[in-house]
């Protein structure tokens, strides 16, 4: 809690401050720079290191990071194999990207709530600068991911079933050709619900978790014994949410690739 600025620091202003994004632009063309920068830097760091590790990977005895990431990636790949029975080279990399990226961004939640905002305020010299450093608490990010997944899903539908096959499925399942409009409506609701639930689940969990951290941050010195159990518990949520996002994506892809 940086208490030395002009206006009186109340619990409300502390919370609001922590839940405000670092914005640039106006109207629709507003960019949340904190989300964009943090998620981009985390992604670049993780995926470029992974590319370097993969580039150096040997088929001999795997060591260190190669061993670790082989384990993670085989785990993800096993989920893909168990659930997705098609043969699309995009699915495994998509699932891996989602799991690793979401996990790393969620893990930002474990950094103490005031640490990165303080660093950003000092780096910019603006001590009122809002800085929301857990990118997955920004619905823009979760929606961006789920909409991308949705687009790939629709694309797969067309690719696997063909235009005719997909249209036939949309219009005849589940009630048969006579109730085509109802089928179409059901299908639209079903498919639109997928990205919405996907993104809101991740956003909601991380936002709520972050909120608890902020509230814990309010209680002064007593936050230490409180923050520790919540952090430990949060490790579970972080992993679980990354896993759920990945798993549901695989399931949606598998549904898109199989006829009903």
């Amino acid at each position: 809690m940086s208490a030395e600025h002009g206006e009186p620091l109340t619990a409300t202003s502390y919370i609001t401050h922590h839940l405000t994004n670092f914005k640039v632009g106006s109207g629709f063309w507003t960019f949340h720079l904190d989300t964009l920068i943090v998620s981009g830097l985390i992604g670049l760091a993780v995926f470029v290191s992974l590319a370097v590790i993969a580039n150096r990977a040997t088929s001999g005895v795997p060591k260190g990071w190669q061993n670790f990431f082989e384990m993670v990636l085989s785990f993800v790949n096993q989920q893909v194999k168990d659930t997705y029975h098609g043969n699309n080279p995009l699915i495994a990399p998509l699932a891996i990207t989602i799991f690793i990226w979401v996990f790393s961004m969620n893990a930002m939640d474990l950094v103490p709530v005031d640490f990165l905002p303080w660093a950003a305020q000092h780096a910019t010299g603006n001590e009122h600068l809002p800085f929301k450093f857990v990118p997955t608490t920004d619905p823009n990010l979760t929606f961006a991911m789920s909409i991308t997944v949705f687009v790939i899903m629709i694309f797969l539908n067309f690719k696997v079933k063909g235009f005719g096959g997909f249209m036939h499925e949309v219009l005849t399942v589940p009630f048969g050709a006579k109730l085509a409009p109802v089928n179409l409506l059901f299908r639209i609701i079903e498919d639109v619900a997928k990205p919405i639930s996907l993104s809101l689940r991740l956003f909601g969990n991380m936002y709520a978790g972050e909120m608890v951290f902020i509230l814990i941050g309010l209680v002064g010195i007593w936050q230490l014994p409180l923050a520790l159990p919540w952090e430990l518990f949060h490790i579970l949520i972080i992993t679980l949410q990354a896993f759920v996002f990945m798993m549901l994506t695989i399931v949606y892809m598998s549904m898109a690739s199989e006829s009903h």
Binding site: T30, F31, L36, S39, A51, P89, P93, I96, W101, T148
Partner: protein, 156 residues
């Protein structure tokens, strides 16, 4: 919470990361893992083959050992037989030799006896003649009675 252009930026990030994973991360790692799996499978197969070879070699060595034992037994039996034959032969040869020596000795002894006998006969004849001479010194003419004396000598 407000949806704005950040969405577009995040989609771009997401696409970039999917592309990196798809292009630079997953294929090489997958290849390394598949290669390793192949190597392990090959190693296990080689181990299996080695075990099989070992079993074969053990069987072969046991066979060779048994054969060698059989042959050794055969050789021993043959040697025994041969030894017995040699002993037998030697016995036979010794018997023959002994007989020969015995016969030779016997013949020699007989000759000796014959010689002694003939010498004795000569002597007895001489003595008889000498005795007769002494008795008949005066009236007996040695020359006149030589025929009778030699006939007597023959009868002895």
């Amino acid at each position: 919470m407000s949806i704005n252009a950040t969405l577009i930026g995040q989609m771009i990030w997401f696409a970039i990361f999917i592309w990196i994973t798809m292009k630079f991360i997953w294929p090489p790692l997958q290849k390394a893992m598949a290669d390793r799996q192949q190597q392990i499978a090959d190693g296990l197969a080689a181990a299996e083959r080695g075990k099989h070879d070992l079993e074969l070699a053990a069987k072969r060595s046991a066979d060779a050992l048994r054969e060698a034992k059989d042959r050794a037994a055969g050789i021993t039996a043959e040697a025994d037989k041969q030894a017995r034959r040699i002993v037998e032969d030697a016995k036979d040869a010794a018997k023959v030799e002994a007989e020969k020596v015995y016969n030779a000795k016997l013949a020699e002894l007989e000759q000796e006896a014959e010689r002694a006998r003939s010498a004795l006969r000569e002597r007895v004849a001489e003595l008889a003649v000498a005795g007769a001479e002494k008795i008949l010194r005066r009236e007996v003419n040695a020359a006149a009675h030589a025929d009778m004396l030699s006939a007597l000598k023959q009868e002895l």
